[in-house]
């Protein structure tokens, strides 16, 4: 069956340029830390990749620390920043952060006596800057607010937040995993101290990412060993993945303007198709295209359980997400939607559709075609009693 892939925020297909760059390096040998010619060749690829990524993201090459992905970048940012400021105990986060940030900070609260402040968001999923200002003080080690929400798409006022943090002498971090390659991101202009990004959300490979670390910031290392990346991150660098990552950043950021306009148009077509199919569907997140990541649409389907709808759409050839975290595969209501003020019932009836570079209007049409049947089925399943109704007939 032809699949309709509407889960690009989970991961998006690799760009041909990234596959090519990565494949080329996979055929070669060389540890970038080795002194000999093979090592030098590998190091050259890594450094050119670093320079390319830095140039595309408004950073200096020396500010790019390669990691094994977004989760590691977030862990390094949160723990490395907290441990680098032993005089300060507080970490200020938004309530809608990714689990890589929330759990890192939560672990520090449990094991290292960090004090956490969770800053609320409004009903569109945007951080309340006034509330954030109240939380940040001279005991704050780090403020971390994501650039754009992976669940509802809301873009956060990161520059304003970075300035608030700087006023109090606190470090600032943004998880920009969903933003880089999708909307303009300029590290230096943002005023941030730390920024996380990853390869596989923008057309690069899995298992590679970067933490941008402003030059003046001395993080405490989390992974110890050979000190390969600025003495902050140890481990043999993943040359091929880094080459693929850099190629993807180059294409995604280089072609950002045109692709952003295309995806925005597709997003409005998707919203239209969903509302045409299900008149009482509700958009969770900003309507204003400037306030949201272009590819993410979070929709509530009243009367449906999101997991039932996902099963039915899956069977009908549509890949999408409940946008909920899984523990042992059990869907919990999304902490993001709950933070936006939705009750548990509404949070459990929401699906995330996300668009990317391979999305077309045919994907939108495919979803529109199967959605009405799936939604009425899912509604039926909520109130259905097969045995009960048949029993009544039988007696």
């Amino acid at each position: 069956m032809m699949r309709t892939y509407l889960d690009h925020a989970a991961t998006t297909p690799m760009l041909p340029e990234a596959i090519e760059a990565m494949s080329r390096e996979l055929t070669r040998v060389g540890n970038a830390s080795s002194t000999h010619a093979s090592g030098r060749n590998a190091r050259r690829v890594v450094e050119e990749s670093r320079e390319a990524i830095a140039a595309r993201l408004g950073a200096q090459p020396s500010e790019v620390v390669f990691t094994a992905g977004g989760t590691e970048a977030d862990n390094l940012a949160i723990k490395g920043a907290f441990w680098s400021r032993p005089d300060r105990r507080r970490i200020v986060l938004s309530a809608i952060e990714h689990h890589a940030v929330l759990e890192s900070a939560g672990w520090l609260a449990e094991r290292a006596e960090a004090d956490l402040s969770l800053v609320p968001v409004d009903e569109l999923g945007t951080v309340d800057c006034a509330a954030l200002r109240d939380e940040v003080a001279d005991d704050t080690a780090l403020v971390s607010v994501m650039w754009g929400s992976n669940e509802v798409g809301s873009v956060q006022p990161v520059a304003e937040i970075a300035a608030l943090a700087a006023e109090q002498g606190a470090l600032s971090h943004s998880d920009a995993v969903q933003a880089v390659g999708h909307i303009p991101v300029d590290f230096t202009a943002s005023g941030l101290d730390l920024l996380s990004c990853t390869g596989h959300k923008l057309g690069g490979p899995y298992g590679v990412g970067a933490l941008l670390v402003r030059r003046e910031v001395a993080l405490t290392a989390v992974l110890h060993g050979g000190g390969q990346e600025r003495d902050v991150r140890s481990g043999t660098v993943n040359v091929a993945a880094i080459a693929g990552f850099a190629a993807a950043v180059d294409v995604a950021v280089g072609g950002l303007e045109a692709e952003m306009a295309r995806i925005r148009w597709l997003r409005s077509a998707l919203l239209e198709a969903i509302l045409a199919a299900v008149s009482d569907a509700v958009l969770h997140g900003p309507v204003d295209p400037d306030a949201t990541l272009p590819g993410i649409v979070n929709i509530g389907f009243p009367g449906c359980a999101a997991e039932d709808l996902l099963l039915l759409l899956d069977a009908a050839g549509i890949d999408c997400a409940t946008g909920a975290a899984c523990s042992a595969g059990v869907a919990e209501p999304s902490h993001v939607l709950v933070a936006m003020g939705l009750d548990e019932e509404a949070a459990r009836s929401s699906l995330r559709f996300s668009l990317g570079h391979t999305s077309t209007v045919a994907d939108v049409a495919a979803l529109g075609a199967v959605l009405p049947e799936a939604v009425s089925r899912a509604r039926l399943a909520r109130g259905y009693s097969a045995t009960g109704s048949e029993r009544r007939v039988a007696r």
Partner: protein
């Protein structure tokens, strides 16, 4: 048919799902998450709620190439099975939580949701046979007598049986393991689960202590004379002999058995083995696999899981069943299911409410 296969993470449900696929059905796997706080690691061979079991179920579904989901039924399970289990013990009865789970969860909550979603049937790894006849679907004992689970399915009615699939009913367990291995299912050697899935350490008494608190009371003889003390009546089942720790020896010097549990007075009555004999049983909540049976039915009745079926006749109404056993039976515990058989065929079941000599 569109079939929903309940996959516990064990070998039986995995092979059952595989056979449903082979039979040409469009199969989707689900793992039922029954515990709010699943154990990260299985302790021994018990769980049907650990993360590892969910992983094993997912792996089996992947090998079979079928879609797989986890359904969170922990709230329903806690309310309909665990709370009921505790309440039954508190009331002096001995419940069978597997019967309850089949009645309220697998063939009710799960089946209803499946049918609502467009599935035609639910497939499980139970050892029992379904036979289609012009009069409806019959439920029979499994070919493997040692594994037969028709007793815990006796509570199912025709509407549920018509939407059920038990692909293992004609097989022996040893064959199922061999088949699992030949299909490349990693769970082929996974040990059987025996105990109550929501009591991870298998210690029912301690679990009930935690739920009910310590409730010490008196152990008395049939005449009401105190002969000992107990830490909580929920530690006892009618017919039990061990663990009584009686201070006062019996007059005849013979062993004594639990005859009755009185929850309000919180007493456990003990007496000689002869006093355990039961000839007449009052049952409530009758369920019939096909047409309801009225007074005058004769057949076999099984009074506990793995119990020996004994001949009996019944009188029955919509709400009650009375069983008259041909010969007395010992150790019949209120709360257990009395399942009626006509040969290998399950006729119906009822929950034992009271017993009489």
């Amino acid at each position: 048919m569109r079939v929903l296969a309940a996959m516990s993470g064990g070998v039986d449900s995995a092979v059952a799902a595989a056979r449903a696929v082979d039979a040409g059905h469009d199969v989707t796997g689900v793992h039922l998450a029954l515990s709010k706080n699943p154990l990260s690691f299985r302790s021994g061979a018990r769980g049907c709620c650990s993360k590892e079991d969910a992983h094993d179920a997912r792996r089996a579904a992947d090998v079979l190439g079928i879609p797989f989901y986890v359904w969170d039924l922990s709230d329903r399970f806690a309310a309909d099975v665990v709370d009921d289990f505790v309440a039954e013990y508190a009331a002096g009865r001995t419940p069978n939580p597997c019967v309850r789970c089949n009645e309220k969860i697998k063939f009710s909550a799960v089946l209803d949701r499946a049918v609502g979603l467009g599935f035609d049937a639910v497939c499980t790894g139970h050892y029992a046979r379904l036979v289609s006849t012009p009069e409806g679907v019959e439920l029979h004992r499994a070919a493997d007598a040692a594994k037969d689970q028709s007793y815990v399915l006796g509570v199912l009615e025709q509407a549920q049986l018509r939407r059920s699939l038990f692909p293992l009913g004609g097989s022996r367990k040893s064959e199922v393991r061999v088949e699992a291995a030949s299909r490349g299912l990693a769970v082929a050697d996974k040990p059987d689960s025996h105990d109550i899935c929501f009591i991870a350490d298998g210690d029912t008494g301690r679990f009930l202590d935690r739920q009910l608190g310590a409730r010490p009371g008196d152990i008395v003889d049939a005449g009401g004379t105190k002969v000992g003390e107990h830490p909580g009546a929920h530690h006892f089942t009618v017919g039990q002999r061990r663990g009584l720790r009686l201070g006062v020896p019996a007059g005849d010097g013979k062993p004594r058995y639990v005859l009755d549990i009185a929850p309000v007075r919180n007493t456990v009555t003990v007496g000689p083995r002869a006093a355990l004999a039961v000839r007449r049983i009052e049952g409530i909540r009758p369920r019939w696999t096909q047409s309801p049976q009225r007074t005058g039915w004769r057949g076999l009745v099984q009074l506990r899981a793995h119990g020996v079926p004994v001949p009996a006749r019944t009188t029955a109404s919509d709400e009650r069943v009375e069983l008259f056993l041909d010969a007395p039976v010992e150790g019949v515990a209120p709360g257990q299911a009395a399942v009626l058989y006509d040969g290998t065929r399950v006729v119906g079941s009822s929950t034992i409410a009271a017993t009489h000599a």
